[in-house]
């Protein structure tokens, strides 16, 4: 069988991320101290797990509505109104999805057709580009800069808009950078979009994890933006529920209706147990979020201080749970740095270029780990830097 003839070239041409092999090496090594994950270390709060267990005991083991359980959609709608300041009709503007991931895919497929240009802000989460390609779209990369704390500026945005631009994917608070967009940053972007017919997918999966004292601002809440914006969020990061595979999208009815069509045929409905747990999360999970944010914030400060003290310059990440220090001072590439660090000190972190070329010269370290774990990892990175210095 000639599989290369059989298989869809668009899929085959999507390269498995170059750092996959690096992942595999790390996975097989013993006693690795990892700062490499993109998921919380906390367990899902017990009352949320109990709600899932209770739903199973009550025999809630069937499909739900394609859109998701109405009670959950209402809870999401209330949440969006309270936290973001946007109203979404739970009947036609809220879709419960299999993680934020599926919602991103459905939103892209609902909006992007063959040849449409999609603006992807990088360094960013790895799924946007392949999803756009699978939908037949053309990814147009906007590289943000460390000087701007990896925020998207209106100038950068404008200079990439063409008459074929259909969509902007806005990934803040950001993975891998920890960057956020504050109200005035978003205002400038919104101003550049007003009067165009460009849609926005705003991936706000880390919206609850910010450390400035100000709450996260959604672009959807700015003048003229709600009508063009699909907000993606979910339960993975906010409530430490990565394995439950549950997220949601909110947006204008015409877009959400098409997304739900895709979701209906590809997925049927999001996991039922997870939906019941998520209702509990939204209703009674606020104290859990606050406790986790307080803990993340302490670790964040410790990690950023640690990197800066080692001479790996680290701008202050104000959201998510990653630090993105520069390793340029070592003269190594991101991949060399991470590979040598893994082999010599058994510390696993992720090379910045895995998140787009503009991530080169940086590494991503997650602080979803205990303080002692973080301290040990930083200590070993310090040793590694000494070793390199002594070589040179």
């Amino acid at each position: 069988m000639d599989y290369m003839k059989l298989l869809n070239p668009t899929v085959v041409d999507i390269k498995p991320s170059g750092i996959r092999k690096f992942f595999d090496i790390a996975a097989e090594m013993d006693d690795v101290i990892s700062l490499g994950v993109g998921e919380p270390d906390f367990q899902t709060p017990w009352h949320i797990r109990q709600a899932g267990i209770k739903s199973l005991q009550d025999g809630k083991t069937k499909y739900t509505s394609n859109w998701g359980i109405l009670e959950l959609r209402k809870a999401v709608s209330d949440y969006m109104k309270a936290e973001i300041g946007c109203e979404y009709d739970p009947k036609s503007e809220v879709l419960i999805s299999v993680g934020g991931s599926e919602a991103i895919d459905a939103a892209v497929r609902a909006i992007v057709g063959y040849g449409d240009e999609v603006l992807i802000v990088q360094p960013s989460f790895v799924c946007y580009e392949p999803i756009v390609r699978l939908a037949g779209g053309v990814p147009v990369i906007i590289s943000t800069k460390v000087e701007n704390e990896f925020r998207l500026t209106a100038e950068e945005l404008k200079s990439h808009i063409t008459d074929r631009t259909k969509l902007l994917i806005l990934p803040y608070p950001g993975n891998p950078t920890g960057a956020i967009m504050e109200r005035e940053d978003l205002e400038a972007v919104a101003e550049a979009l007003r009067g165009t017919s460009i849609a926005v997918i705003s991936d706000e999966i880390y919206s609850e994890l910010t450390y400035t004292g100000n709450r996260h601002v959604s672009i959807a809440s700015l003048d003229g933006m709600r009508e063009r914006t699909v907000v993606i969020n979910g339960f993975s990061k906010t409530y430490s529920m990565t394995g439950w595979r549950l997220g949601f999208a909110c947006g204008p009815e015409p877009i959400l209706t098409q997304m739900t069509k895709i979701h209906q045929f590809a997925i049927m409905s999001a996991p039922t147990t997870s939906q019941y747990a998520a209702i509990e999360a939204l209703k009674n999970g606020r104290p859990d979020i606050e406790a986790m944010v307080e803990e993340y914030d302490m670790r964040r400060r410790l990690m950023v201080d640690g990197f800066n003290a080692l001479g790996l310059e680290c701008f202050e990440p104000k959201g998510a749970f990653y630090a993105f220090p520069s390793i340029k001072s070592t003269g190594l590439s991101s991949e060399e740095f991470c590979e040598r660090l893994l082999y010599s000190k058994k510390v696993a972190i992720v090379p910045g270029n895995a998140f787009g070329e503009s991530g080169e010269g940086h590494v991503r370290a997650s602080y979803c780990y205990s303080v002692d774990h973080i301290k040990e990892a930083i200590r070993r990175i310090g040793e590694f830097l000494e070793d390199i210095k002594n070589e040179g």
Binding site: F23, S34, V37, F125, E294, V350
Partner: protein, 160 residues
């Protein structure tokens, strides 16, 4: 008084001043002065290590003793609690709601030693009505620290 600082010290009293300063956002001088202030005021009463005694041959045994006590006019349980806490064998004394009055944690080298202490010292005390001794057989978790189970991180080592 900084609650964050207290919470951190509760978690690990051996954080350095620098670490405490970074994690709370206070200056190092503020950390130092606030900690010594809290010590002076008696808000912070001491610092101790949590030890897994089972790993030692010269193991310690502990028992929780339920004391029923006849309360005294005016002083209630205070006087007897004061007396009980003076024994070096006594590690902890709590006044309790519910079925008994004082919870006393006693430690010793052997079961025998603890049992004799209860029989000879606590039980005969004036106003002590009855005692019930419960030996601690295994410590799973103490002061938030897990002593049994390795709590393995079951996440992938790297994910995006």
């Amino acid at each position: 008084m900084n609650v964050k600082l207290l919470k951190l010290l509760c978690k690990n009293a051996r954080y350095t001043v620098h670490e405490l300063s970074v994690m709370t956002g206070l200056s190092e001088d503020d950390v130092k002065s606030q900690v010594s202030e809290m010590e002076k005021e008696g808000l912070i009463r001491g610092y101790k290590a949590v030890i897994d005694w089972e790993r030692l041959d010269s193991a310690m045994v502990s028992a929780i003793i339920e004391l029923k006590v006849e309360p005294q006019p005016d002083v209630g349980f205070e006087q007897i609690a004061e007396q009980v806490k003076k024994y070096p064998e006594v590690e902890t004394v709590y006044l309790m709601s519910g079925g008994y009055d004082l919870c006393v944690i006693v430690k010793g080298k052997t079961f025998q030693e603890v049992a004799m202490f209860v029989a000879k010292q606590l039980a005969p005390m004036k106003y002590v009505v009855s005692t019930a001794t419960h030996f601690i057989l295994r410590r799973y978790k103490e002061l938030d620290i897990e002593l049994i189970g390795d709590n393995k991180d079951d996440r992938e080592k790297i994910s995006f």
